[in-house]
Amino acid sequence: MLKINNLTVAHGAIRAIDDISFSVEKGQLAAVIGSNGAGKTTLMRTLSGLKSAENGTATWLDHNLLHGKPEHHVRQGVSHVSEGKSVIAQLTVEENLDLGALWRRNRDEAWATKEEVFTLFPRLGERRKQLADTLSGGERQMLAIGRAYMSRPALLLLDEPSLGLAPLVIEQIFQSIRHIVDSMGVTVVLVEQNAMGALKIADSGVVLNLGTIAASGKASDLIADPAVRTAYLGF
């Protein structure tokens, strides 16, 4: 499982993540919610190796997430879809996908994974020769998730996949994420400002506030919690 203990991450003098601990069981979907500046993105960037931590530990199974670069973590089964539709606009849909599996030795397996992605997101299959630049926002997000999936992750870190998308598209993306967890056995950490939507599909949730954990527990309990409701779910 994903275990985070006393993790502290600084942006210069500011502690963006301040001594937090939580864990995510294998095969579960955990939502990390909170307002802007709560430290959600910083947390994800630290777990994927883009940013270094000041203190604490973070492990996925036996693998130390606080040591090594992202390309190293990818090979250990940890993939990160960064904020803002992380696709490369100048490459085609298929090239974006291939990118996620370039490091994999077994080309047949990589090819099979690509077929899985096209099954999960048929629109990507239809547009495989198009430049990613020509895709809609929702399709780009599908491509970003598909690219991460090409690395065959056991742990998938998703940063705000709903950002800037229409409600109907968000619904579709969230269903796909749930599907990745249920049918493909991937553990997912989903960072979202869309707190309600994320908690609805999640198994557990963590509420971040200014770098600290304001609440955590089962997603259904968090939805029912009056304090969480007023502060983060808006009713």
Partner: protein, 302 residues
Amino acid sequence: MKQFLDMVLIGISAASIYSLMAISMVLVWRSTRVVNFAQAGMALLSAYIGYELVARVGNFWIALPLAMILGAAFSAFIEFVLMRTLQKHSAQGAIAAIAPIIATLGLLGLIRAGIGFIWGHADVQIEAPLSKVGFTFGDTTIVMSPMGLFVLLFVIELMIIVSIVFQDTNIGLALRASAYAPEIAQLAGIRVSGIRTLGWAIAGAAGAAAGILQTVNGTGALSPESLEFSLLLVFGFIAAVVGGLESLPGAVLGALILGLVLAAVQIYISGALVFIVAFLLLLLVLILRPQGFLGSKAGRRA
């Protein structure tokens, strides 16, 4: 008609060498965001290595690819040792953007001084392996010689190889991805720092070819203070900027435009105006179309 044909042939010949230098600058720019002024020195050093190899091996056709390989190795070494160290030690503040560029200027001086130390300051000569007398048809002699034709064909072949590598191979995909979006490439599992070094290596090989081919196709003379190599850098840079600085096809197009414009000036107006026009063209492009002609998003393929 004869004049026009001469202009086209001179323009294309010059363009082939500029384009090698231009893609070399583009590759370095794309992989590390550095305008590498030392490229002139690296090309010069490769030409000296070519000279040394021709003297030792006695065969230009073996010396050329060998010098390109050594040029690639030297360029990769510079990225690995100098650029990575600079990145670590001057990563903050205003100096971070300037330090690598100034460092390449320092390196340029260092290479030239080193060449003077090793080979001396007197000219050395690389024999052209083919005739430099223009082909004759009936009683007209055109400006294209067997040597010039070889240079042209060799460059076209290199361009085809480069474009196949970039468009159709996994390494090429990694090179493009790392250039466009290093962070996303990293998250996808690409070892971006290694790919960066590889970009410099390919640039080094292209620069080496440019240096040697320019020398044998020109006077054959090399000196540490060679003006030709400074101009090669400037022309390569102009071609790269005209092409948008990011795009390999753009660099080739930029080289063609530059080569033909300069040839037209030389033939129809005056050879004395060539440099003035070249630098005016650079300024004009920077003012009117700083993104170059293929520098827009759509042109950033390959």
